[in-house]
């Protein structure tokens, strides 16, 4: 079974417990305006161009400088697994493991299932980062080989959610409840986008919803990350939110406090 991935990031410290490797799968069904991994949106490999790296050598077909690069590569689950396996001693020592991220990994559910199963057989703890908007059966099939689910809950207002991600939040909320009903451990994130999700009202509503679920171990607020902006130009895309800045610490603290009190620990980064 092959999949399309954009990157394998070892020593990843922010995508779950312990020392982890995060595998970024290509393709996403949402179109979040703030997405900082735009190279993971389309399902197929694509070209990116960085003109500043061009030395005009004329060997564009096999560009040696990285001025033209193909983002995304096809790989078998076994080959990816072998690369992940090199960090096995570090996963075991730290309580870490492997996280599938993206993009939306559930768009490549069969590949994800095979990769996660290989990890499990090797004693590696597993996690997935999903937007939780796809039919629940896709996730459900993976649950036997997952230790925890990380999902995004971006906005409680469906209109806002649709306007900024292109997708309704109704399936997300329904899937969150089903996950809770099964008692699957989960951690939830909200990207804080100024003018959109970064309001006390939104954060408080999400926290209240999560507090009622019973399976959410932690709620994390993610400050706006502008680092994806240059990638849009390289991919020939237009970034919808130019000039947006990360929120100051005081705002993050205020939003964190707003979200507190629902029985779910809240943090920000």
């Amino acid at each position: 079974m092959t999949g399309i991935i954009t990157d394998i990031q070892k020593f990843s410290l922010t995508d779950g417990e312990g020392i982890r490797t995060t595998v970024f799968l290509k393709g996403c069904n949402m179109r979040c305006l703030w997405c900082h991994n735009p190279e993971t949106l389309l399902p197929q490999p694509q070209q990116a161009v960085y003109p500043e790296k061009c030395i005009h050598c004329g060997h564009c077909d096999r560009c040696p400088t990285g001025a033209r690069v193909t983002l995304g590569r096809e790989a078998t689950a076994q080959a990816v697994f072998e690369e992940l396996l090199s960090d096995l001693p570090y996963y075991l020592a730290s309580g870490g493991g492997v996280t599938l991220s993206g993009g939306e990994p559930l768009l490549q559910a069969a590949f994800s299932a095979e990769l996660l199963a290989l990890c499990r057989e090797a004693g590696i703890r597993t996690a997935i980062e999903t937007n939780l908007s796809l039919p629940f059966a896709r996730l459900e099939a993976l649950l036997p080989v997952l230790d925890i689910v990380y999902y995004d809950l971006k906005a409680m207002d469906d209109r806002l959610h649709r306007d900024w991600t292109g997708v309704s939040n109704k399936p997300v909320l329904a899937n969150a409840r089903r996950l809770a009903a099964l008692g699957v451990p989960a951690e939830v994130r909200t990207p804080l986008i100024p003018g959109c999700t970064a309001t006390a009202e939104n954060v408080a509503a999400i926290a209240a919803f999560l507090g009622g679920l019973g399976n959410v171990r932690a709620y994390e607020l993610l400050n706006y990350n502008p680092l994806g902006e240059p990638k849009y130009a390289a991919l020939g895309m237009t970034y919808a939110l130019p000039g947006l800045r990360p929120l100051p610490r005081a705002t993050l603290e205020r939003l964190r406090d707003t979200a507190a009190g629902h029985g779910v620990p809240v943090s920000y980064r």
Binding site: Q9, K10, L13, G18, I55, C57, R62, T65, A93, S94
Partner: protein, 729 residues
């Protein structure tokens, strides 16, 4: 009012304020040093800037003005020490400090009259860092000084002088050692007089009390062995001052275990509490940036972490100055102690402590033919190195092979004539490496035959077993073990170059030998040069998982280790391989033209066993850790892991645990030593622009820590590049 009468809280506050004042004085002293000497590019040693009008110069005995031998060194040391004003800081527990290092007055490391002509052309051709005329780089046993005291040492020298009167050389040896000890005792005496004066004049009752305690401790240890913890710390302070001011000697010892009996006795008798202990140890740490080991197994394998180990960390924490503390990690290391060490790294971000790997060091040394018990006694006492205190002469961190240069010589020979292939190039490389190692063996032989006439170890002889007993210098066959360390440097440049040629010329055929030759000759200038460089740079590098570059590192390190241990020497020494550049990455790089890894002519080589900056995908520390495991020589010396951590990890929940897991896994899998920097890329860039605004910033340059402000711009750039490259992930 005396210190003893203070409430525990008041005493803690008093000591903390005094330690803080020592920290602040240290920062001011660092600024003065830069104003006086400019950039030092080395460890700082906590010495003091001499007075404005200081003008002492040694008396030479050769046309170049250098001094040599037992007489030259002992008499000049006597005169230099006499030129130092005594140093007494009322807020410190320890008296004494020094202003200059005698060795630094030497212009030439070896004797002007030595005939280096059989080797000089080869030394120049390969840029060999040989051991001729090197001093110290072995470890005295401070327990000898503690057991005998300075007076007892003097009696020991006199006793053996009476026994060993056969040769004039022996007689000179003992005369020099006695003069050395008299110089030291006289230095203590002058300091005692100064303490007495300051105590009499002091009006603050607590400072006066401290000075009177300092006076009693120094009077007690001027001739006799110490009885109390304070006296033991004062004896070791003098040990540090004498050794460092003589020839820059910087090896410490197993400090927790050395101090433990004194601490236990004093606390059992109710003489001191932990606050007093921290204050004394703080004073000791301020006497010098010596390399001390904490924890680790004793000979029988029992862990040595004690209450004193914790108090040493506590003292270092409160002082927060440059400190070279190495914690030896093994299965028996208490988890809470390990946690505390990493928490302190996180707290101060000043590069201490660092961590050595017991199992791999023991396994390696056993593989080289020694017992596990002896291997456990071989403790971390230097920049990248271990030594058995008092019995081993390893000359570690002194002899270096520039593997990038050896590669370049081989490549040029291949281009000059004959078949062009990676296999032939590899053969030529091995042949040239053998030539280099033969030069190293020959010059080490020469060193062991002659150095006692040049640079005798007047201080460390006293702290070793053998030299005083036989009347022969430590470099002159009087020690038990001569295990000479030979470090490879630039292994990543050589390995990446082999990998790039194999990939681009032989496997993918994207380049021809002629294209590579031309591009190297032009230092990758012009469009074609740029293209060739880009293609070579894109080849699989050491630092990428399971890459051809990594496979070449395994090959080159394995061959290097094998050739080093097979090297025969005439003077009875054996050789032990390691991978370390020290801070010579710039210097060694300048000697090497453009290389097929895409590196420009004259630019730096890789640091120690680390890949070239930027080679590790996303800067992943686990990938880097595995890469450095590939560069281990496995014979008891180190291939250190220079770990630059993003400070973000310190804010991360579970960050300490993650770093512990990383450190422990690396060391359990064969790693030997880990030096850690936790510095933010923006901070280091800002400090590079305006270092004077960051007088407190300490970085682990290689195995040693130094104030960033004392580094030259070129050197700072080196540290900046490493940290920025690691933080880029």
């Amino acid at each position: 009012m005396t210190i003893r009468e203070l409430s525990p809280q008041a005493k803690r506050e008093l000591y903390t304020s005094w330690l803080q004042s020592m920290h602040d004085a240290k920062i001011e002293e660092t600024k003065k040093k830069i104003a006086r000497y400019g950039y030092t590019d080395e460890d700082d040693y906590h010495f003091l800037v001499p007075p404005e009008n200081y003008a002492w110069k040694p008396v030479g005995d050769t046309p170049n003005g250098d001094f040599h031998g037992y007489r030259g060194w002992s008499e000049n040391y006597r005169d230099m020490v006499a030129s130092f004003p005594p140093v007494v800081v009322p807020q410190s527990a320890m008296a004494g400090n020094f202003h200059r290092i005698l060795q630094k007055f030497r212009k030439l490391r070896w004797h002007q009259s030595w005939d280096l002509s059989p080797y000089q052309a080869l030394i120049d051709r390969y840029g060999i860092d040989h051991g001729l005329g090197q001093m110290h780089h072995f470890c005295g046993d401070m327990r000898i000084a503690l057991a005998l005291g300075w007076g007892g040492l003097r009696e020991k020298v006199e006793r053996y002088a009476a026994l060993n009167r056969q040769t004039e050389e022996q007689r000179e040896f003992y005369r020099a050692e006695l003069l050395f000890l008299d110089t030291c005792i006289g230095w203590i005496d002058r300091t005692i007089a100064c303490i007495r004066e300051k105590a009499a004049a002091e009006t603050d009752p607590l400072l006066k009390d401290n000075l009177e305690n300092m006076l009693r401790a120094n009077e007690a240890v001027r001739l006799s062995p110490p009885a109390t913890l304070r006296e033991a710390c004062q004896t070791i302070s003098w040990y540090n001052i004498f050794g460092r001011s003589f020839n820059r000697e910087g090896a410490g010892g197993q400090l927790d275990e050395v101090l433990r009996p004194y601490y236990e006795r004093d606390t059992a008798l109710g003489l001191i509490d932990d606050e007093d202990a921290v204050f004394y140890i703080g004073g000791l740490l301020m006497s010098d940036t010596k390399y001390y080991q904490l924890g680790g197994p004793d000979e029988s394998g029992r862990d040595m972490v004690s209450r004193v180990s914790w108090l040493i960390l506590e003292a270092a924490d409160r002082l927060n100055v440059a400190a070279n503390l190495t914690v030896r990690v093994h299965d028996g290391l208490p988890e809470d102690f390990f946690r505390r060490c990493v928490a302190l790294l996180f707290k101060h971000k000043n590069g201490w402590p660092r961590f050595s790997g017991d199992q791999s060091l023991v396994d390696g040394f056993v593989r080289r033919g020694f017992t596990p018990e002896l291997a456990r006694r071989r403790i971390a006492v230097g920049c990248n190195w271990m030594a058995i205190p008092g019995v081993e002469y390893p000359l570690n961190d002194s002899i270096k092979v520039n593997m990038a240069k050896v590669f370049e010589v081989a490549l040029r020979e291949m281009f000059a004539s004959g078949e062009r292939s990676v296999a032939r190039l590899h053969g030529l490389y091995r042949r040239h490496l053998s030539i280099v190692l033969q030069v190293i063996a020959d010059t080490t032989d020469m060193h062991l035959r002659l150095n006692h006439e040049n640079n005798p170890e007047l201080f460390l002889n006293l702290m070793s077993v053998g030299p005083v007993e036989t009347g022969r210098d430590a470099s002159d066959h009087s020690m038990q073990y001569y295990n000479i360390g030979v470090d490879g440097s630039g292994v990543a440049v050589a390995a990446d170059s082999f990998a790039a040629l194999e990939t681009c010329v032989e496997n993918d055929r994207t380049l021809t030998w002629a294209q590579v030759e031309e591009a190297l000759a032009s230092d990758f200038e012009g469009t074609q040069g740029c293209y060739v460089q880009a293609v070579l740079k894109a080849a699989p590098k050491f630092g990428q998982w399971n890459s051809l570059g990594e496979r070449w590192v395994r090959t080159l390190c394995g061959e290097f280790a094998d050739l080093v241990i097979r090297q025969r020497a005439k003077e009875g020494e054996i050789f032990i391989p390691g991978m370390f550049s020290w801070s010579k990455t710039i210097l060694f790089g300048k000697l090497v033209g453009a290389t097929p890894d895409g590196r420009k002519a004259g630019s730096q080589i890789n640091h120690g066993a680390n890949p070239m900056p930027g080679s590790v995908p996303n800067g992943a520390m686990t990938t880097l850790s595995e890469a450095i495991l590939a560069a281990q020589c496995g014979m008891g010396n180190t291939s250190p892991f220079q770990m630059e951590l993003d400070p973000g990890i310190t804010a991360d929940e579970g960050g300490v645990e993650k770093v512990i897991a990383l450190l422990r896994t690396h060391l359990q899998r064969g790693g030997t030593l880990i030096n850690v920097n936790i510095v933010d890329a923006d901070t280091i860039r800002a400090a590079h622009r305006q270092p004077e605004l960051y007088p407190d910033l300490v970085v682990r340059v290689t195995g040693f820590t130094a104030y960033f402000i004392t580094l030259s711009p070129e050197f700072r750039q080196l540290v900046v590049d490493r940290i920025v490259s690691a933080n880029a992930s």
